[in-house]
Structures are given as C-alpha cells and as structure tokens.
C-alpha cells in the first residue's frame, strides 16, 4: 500500500466516521433524556434521503433550497414519531416502549417499501458535493472533505444549545433526573420534542452527505447505519454528545481500515461494529466519555 492510498483511506475513514457521528448524536441525546433506544432513528435518516430525492429529482428544486425543505420535513417526521409512538407510553413498562420503537422503525421501513418500492433510487447528483478534488496526489470528493467540518461545526452548535441556552439547561436537567425535573415545572414534552428536533435535523444533514457519497436510496438503507451509530453512541458514552462524535469517528475509521488492510475480511465489515459493542460493554460499559451511574436499591 502506498502512502497515497493510506492517506486516501484515512480521509475516507474520517469522513465515514463523521457521518456516523452526525447520526449518533441523535441516539445519544434521546437516550440521555428518555433512556430509550430510538430504534426508528435510522429510518428517519432513510426518509430524509428519500425527501431529498423527491425534492431535487421530482420537484426540480435547487439543492440548497431542497436541503432546507428536507431538514424541515425530517424534523417534522421526527417530532411526529415521538408524539405518536413514544409520548403515549411515557409511563408504560420499558419493554412496551422498546417494542413501540421497534414497531415504529418497522412501520417506516415497510411504508417506504410500499410508497417508493424496494428498487433503489438514485440520489441526486449535487455537483458541488460530488466534485473531485486532488490534494497531494490524493483524490477526494468535496463531500468527503467537508463532512468532518460540517460535523464539527454542528457538534459545536449542539453543545452551545445544550450548555448555553435555556432549553439546553432544561435538557440537561431532565437527563439528570426525569422526575425531579418534571416536578420542578420543566415542560418535559417540550424538552423531549426539542431533542427530537435536533436529532432529526442532524440525521437529515447526515442523509444529504451520505447520499452524495453512496448515491443509492433504499427502504432498508437506515438499518445498518442506525445500528452502527447507536453502537458509536455507546462506545463514546451514551448521553454524551462529544462522546457520540468520538465513537462515530472510531467506528468509521475501524471499518475503513479493516476493509483496506485486510481485504479478505471485507465480508465481515458490518460485524466489526457489533464486536466493538460487545467489547465496550464488557470492558467499559459506560463508554469512553460516559459517567458512572449507580442503580438505587
């Protein structure tokens, strides 16, 4: 392997990792507040990709206007999902809430198959993102290069919201102690909706960048990234935004490095994430940046 290929793969790893990171933030925020794996988050991501296909290909909108519409539509879908599948079960047994989450995910997948058929649709070619740039003999697409930048910027925005704004303070309070926060007069439903707004918006941005790199949109395209990004969130320490980004980067790198250094194991690409999950849960269940929680007896 030449140094150039190595750099190329490194860039691919970082880029894939930042995509994972964008989606992982949504998981970690919802988990932090509801203690719930939002199984449908990957499918929200998938729907965002379809929204983009329709806005650009079917309605012929320019990509920048389409992107805004896609983000808004995805946010609406995320909030709707929360209202329909989760808010009604606030006091239900944990297993019911998880089944509802799985059901929602399954419903979105089947709905997509029904509405858009299982045949992959081509993601619109956004010239400004797919254009290839060559730096020091390494040829990369613009999407690959700007993804990490977008992720870091958005991470800062999210951290600003959670640390500096009023709603962010409420979010942190709810994630520390749901019941007390509720008693203190924090509007729980508003906090939860805001979490879904942020998570879904990031998933939409992720979907647009993802589509520019892997331009094939299918009803089940969210399943694997969804599971992997949840794992990234666990790896970084669930509930911790920066941790989710770190976890996403590590996972993306691990995957690309496996494929490029051990090509014979390419078939096992999707298995690495799960192996990492098991190792993390065994060695450091709180993740890299997570806090230790003690159960009250």
């Amino acid at each position: 392997m030449t140094f150039q290929t190595f750099l190329q793969q490194l860039a691919n790893g970082i880029s894939l990792g930042s995509l994972y990171a964008l989606i992982a933030i949504g998981y970690t925020m919802v988990y932090g507040i509801l203690r719930l794996i939002n199984f449908a988050h990957g499918d929200i991501f998938m729907m965002a990709a379809y929204f983009m296909v329709f806005s650009v290909v079917n309605f012929g909108l320019p990509w920048y206007i389409a992107s805004i519409i896609v983000i808004l539509a995805t946010v609406a879908l995320g909030v709707l999902l929360e209202k329909a599948a989760y808010s009604t079960l606030r006091d239900a047994p944990r297993m019911s809430i998880m089944i509802s989450a799985i059901g929602a995910s399954f419903l979105l997948e089947n709905l997509a198959t029904y509405l858009f058929t299982g045949v992959p649709k081509g993601f619109p070619n956004i010239a400004i993102l797919t254009k290839s740039v060559s730096i020091a003999g390494v040829s990369l697409s613009v999407a690959t290069m700007i993804t990490p930048v977008v992720t870091i910027v958005l991470l800062y925005v999210v951290m600003f919201i959670t640390n500096k704004t009023k709603i962010g303070m409420a979010m942190r309070a709810v994630s520390k102690d749901f019941e007390t926060a509720r008693l203190m007069g924090i509007n729980i439903n508003r906090v939860i909706s805001s979490t879904f707004v942020i998570g879904s918006a990031l998933a939409a941005v992720g979907a647009i960048l993802w589509g520019s790199k892997y331009p094939s949109v299918m009803p089940l395209m969210g399943v694997m990234p969804g599971l992997k990004c949840f794992i990234a969130a666990v790896l970084g320490g669930i509930g911790n935004t920066a941790g989710a980004v770190l976890g996403g980067f590590i996972l993306g790198m691990a995957e690309i490095l496996l494929v490029s250094f051990l090509p014979s194991l390419t078939g096992y690409r999707d298995a690495i994430a799960f192996v990492i999950l098991i190792v993390v849960l065994l060695v450091k269940p709180t993740g890299l940046l997570g806090e230790k929680v003690t159960d009250k007896v």
């Binding site: 998880m98 059901g103 399954f106 419903l107 029904y114 599971l227 666990v234 999950l277 849960l281 007896v297």
Partner: protein
C-alpha cells in the same frame, strides 16, 4: 368473599373439564390427520399450518426468554439460522452436494457426512444453545435495552458469518434440496413436545425463579437466586428450541439462504408474542397461527384490487407489510396485554368471558 363465590360460580367441575379436554384433543388429532391424509385442505393450507406450527415453536421459545424471564432479547432469528443450517448441511444427500456447492466446493470432511433428520435437528438445537451460552456470558449482564441491541447484533453477526463461510454454508447462494418431511405430524408433534417441555419448565421451581427475575431482579437476587445462571439457562433453552424451529423451517422450505434470518424475522416473532401476550404460552400459540395465516390472508392487499372497474390504488405490493407493522404499533400502543396477557387459556377463562358477555347483554336490556 363476594369475589370467591363469583369465582366458584364460574368454575366447572374437573370432570367436565377433562371431558372437554379429551374432546378437543380428539378434534385436533382428527383434523390434523385428515389434513395430513389429504382428505381435506390443499397443499397451500398444509403449508400455512406447518409454517404456523414452526413459528409457534420459535415464538414460544422467545416468550420463555422475553415474557417469562423478562430479558429483552432479539436474537431469535440468529438461533433459528444455526438450527436451519445444521439441518441443511447434514441432511442433503451426499450425492447432491457437488451440484449445490458448485461455486466453491464444500469442505471435504463435511461433504462426506450425512445425518438422519432427527439427529441433525437435535444437533442444530444443541449448537444454538451452545452459541447462546457463549453469547450469554458477556451480554446477559447487560440491562434491558443494551441486551436488546447486543442480541440483535449477535444475530446479525451469525448471519454475516454464515454468508462468509462458503465452504461450509455455500454463502449467499444458500443450500437447497433439503429433504422434505413426509407428514405434518413431524411439525405438529415437535410443536406439542416443545410446548409441553417449556410449560413444565415454567411451572417448575426453575420457572418460578425465571418469573421472579422478570418481576424484580434485585429482589430475586436477594432471595438467593443466581441471576446470571438462571438468565443463561433461560436464554440457552430458548435458543435450543429456536434452533429446533429453524431446523424444521429448513426442511419445510426445502432450502435456506442467510437473508431469511434477518432482523425483520425476529420482529415477526416479536409481533407474535406481543399479540399473544408476553408471559402466555397458549396466547403465543394462538397468535402464531393467527399472524402466520393472517399474513397469508392479507396477501390480497398486495394484489391489484378492482371494484366495479375502478382500480383501488392503495392495493399494491408492500401494503400487507404496512398493515402488519401498523398492527404491531396499534397493539403495543392500545392493547399492551395482547390476547391473553400473562394468563393461560382455560375452560374457565372461556366460560368466564362467555358468561360476562351474556350478563353484559342482560344488564344492557
């Protein structure tokens, strides 16, 4: 006191119940035999019923883990895959193997081994249980949602590994020409045996320990129950029967491909146990038949529907699965207890329901 007298009124004598039980068993046996001898029904009906029976085995095994032990495990499809592949690999006649493994040759040792169906079936169950123990040791220490994602992950890993070890499994091409079963009684007989075994287990001291863990694991541990040992036990037994179910599934279909055992397969069983009632064996069996035949009946949703020359546009491929998943949502949102909740079907229950309906009517009149 009032409650007690009411209950007595609703109770039947033991003798009546015994007679009813015997009658229903005979009806059941006669029906299956008639179907089996091709006196009634066609091959389609037989296939749907056999599939239901196989699904019932897997669903009951999943309910043992999820509904009775309270472990949110989503690994059933993976365990089924193990059972299915053991049957597929070892029961296909040796002579047919080269024509199946035509891209990559089968491992020369395996290519020589052919086992009787029942040996392979049990072996598949044991392999699933063994893998469950290996998986269970790390993951069963985890709390509910982590356990769900970890078991789902392992189930996927099993599928990925099966896809990648071509010399053993023929990879993504799968294995076909698996010998078919001569009679429905194999499926229904094994269903009956599995259900009896699991029911006896649930009602034993070990089953009570499982339920204690489901109700309150901290209290269970404080009462001297070794959480880890009992969780692994329940998980492994559940996996064993999922493996058996997988083996039967392979022979029912006559072929296996890794993609059959994907995540939606597990969701299918999840729907079955939620509908039947988490913690009800009889509910799970009823719902296995309802869901499986329901999915067949719903097939017309996927076909074009024309009423009076007008094509109803919502009926097209995929609609069935939309209905199916919407049903799961409606169930969990509004009918969380399913058909039977944690109760079991009994004559008293049927009679009670019947009487209550009657008295409701009287009350209304």
């Amino acid at each position: 006191m009032m409650k007690n007298t009411n209950m007595n009124e609703n109770k039947m004598s033991k003798k009546t119940k015994l007679i009813l039980n015997i009658i229903s068993l005979i009806v059941f046996a006669v029906l299956i035999t008639l179907l089996d001898k091709r006196v009634i029904g066609d091959s389609y009906v037989r296939r749907v019923l056999n599939t239901s029976a196989v699904y019932a085995i897997v669903a009951v095994s999943m309910n043992l883990i999820n509904g009775f032990t309270g472990l949110f495990s989503l690994g059933q499809a993976g365990f089924m895959a193990l059972g299915a592949y053991v049957v597929a690999i070892f029961t296909v006649p040796v002579g047919l193997r080269p024509s199946i493994f035509y891209v990559i040759k089968q491992n020369p040792v395996l290519a020589q081994i052919e086992l009787p169906f029942f040996v392979a079936l049990i072996l598949g169950g044991l392999l699933a249980a063994f893998v469950a123990i290996l998986i269970g040791i790390p993951v069963l220490r985890l709390k509910s949602d982590y356990l769900a994602i970890a078991t789902l992950g392992f189930s996927e890993i099993i599928r990925i590994v099966i896809t990648n070890i071509q010399p053993i499994t023929n990879g993504a091409l799968g294995i076909n020409r698996i010998p078919e079963m001569p009679t429905m009684w194999i499926f229904f007989g094994i269903l009956i045996l599995s259900v009896i075994f699991i029911k006896l287990l649930i009602d034993s001291s070990y089953g009570r320990a499982f339920k204690a863990i489901r109700e309150d694991d901290i209290a269970a541990e404080a009462m001297g129950i070794n959480l880890f040992k009992h969780k692994v036990l329940s998980f492994a037994i559940g996996a064993f029967f999922a493996g058996i179910g997988g083996g039967l599934y392979a022979s029912l279909l006559g072929s296996v491909v890794p993609n059959s055992f994907n995540i939606p397969m597990t969701y299918n069983f999840l729907l079955i146990i939620v509908l039947g009632g988490m913690g009800s064996v009889s509910g799970t069996i009823i719902s296995s038949f309802v869901v499986t035949s329901g999915l067949e009946v719903l097939r017309f949703f996927d076909d074009k529907l024309t009423i009076g020359g007008v094509v109803i546009p919502i009926f097209r491929p995929g609609f069935r699965m939309v209905i199916f998943s919407a049903l799961l949502m409606i169930l969990v949102l509004f009918f969380r207890n399913g058909i039977l909740g944690q109760k079991e079907l009994s004559w008293d229950l049927i009679r009670g329901k019947f009487l209550r309906k009657k008295s409701d009517k009287r009350g209304a009149a």
